[in-house]
Symmetry: C2
Subunit: 138 residues, 2 copies
DNA sequence: ATCCTAGCTTGGACTCTGTCTAAGTCAACA
DNA sequence: TGTTGACTTAGACAGAGTCCAAGCTAGGAT
């Protein structure tokens, strides 16, 4: 994680305690937290941190390419710190659990030129949906 | 469209003027409207229709599998009446325009067993992102 | 043809995410 | 150590969607 903080400082980031805490929260496990969850965990270490700062910091991390934003559905966006290893997501329709997955092949290559309508394509996200073992059992 | 209304009636749907109007709006062109846009168009024909009813009806159509919900990103969900022809979406990062696209191959087949974590997989959505010709020019 | 009633609709209040703003604070350079 | 512009804060605000109690109505029952 100090890697991340170093990288950010190298890019002119002012290193405040708030930003450090947010970065540390995301560095934890390989989770997919919502902004509010990040705020809650950050507040355990820095009780006076504000929601606005968490949103600002997450937005900056996304722009810097250090964190990915995952829009699961109508709910809150989730933030994925695993930004340097390309992957897709598998989401449980029952409980909302998310796992990183690595399908074979490149989805962009699967889109014929005739289907691109002149767009300059920059990326493709694949979202697999299904029931996790726990939810399937019920 | 009367097809759709017939199918719905066959499933025990009570056919009200509100539901008919919402279904007709979606049947129009092959568009991807937001709930508010559906409401606006429905209100042209049935001025007293409420937002709540539009949301209810759209939700029911989604559950019945007659309409797809497209969660683009942080914005409002869009409703896609083209539910009976499998396809994916290409979204312009600039203006939000959406096109239906048909990539080759089956994304589900691209996910190895070892990457399924015991999930019962029910579907996969692919979202291509890029700039449409208009936005790329600017 | 009319009656009944479960199911549908309504408007408005409410919730949830996320953004904005003005005022105060502070990291980092000089 | 002082300065300054970038950062943070609380709270107001906004957009999308949900919920609820009260009233209405489609369509089967009579």
């Amino acid at each position: 994680m100090s890697d991340l903080l170093e990288r950010l400082r190298g890019r002119g980031w002012r290193l405040t305690s708030q930003r450090r805490v947010v970065a540390e929260v995301l560095d934890g496990d390989h989770v997919h937290l919502t902004a509010d969850e990040v705020h809650a965990r950050a507040a355990e270490r820095l009780p006076e941190i504000s929601r606005a700062t968490v949103y600002n910091t997450l937005g900056e991390l996304v722009i810097l390419g250090e964190v990915l934003e995952v829009s699961t559905d109508g709910r809150a966006k989730r933030y994925d710190p695993n930004a340097h290893h390309p992957h897709q997501h598998l989401i449980c329709s029952g409980c909302g659990a998310i796992r990183d997955v690595h399908p074979q092949g490149d989805p962009i290559a699967a889109l014929p030129d005739a289907e691109r309508f002149g767009f300059l394509i920059s990326g493709a996200e694949v979202t697999y949906r299904g029931l996790c073992p726990d939810c399937a059992r019920r």
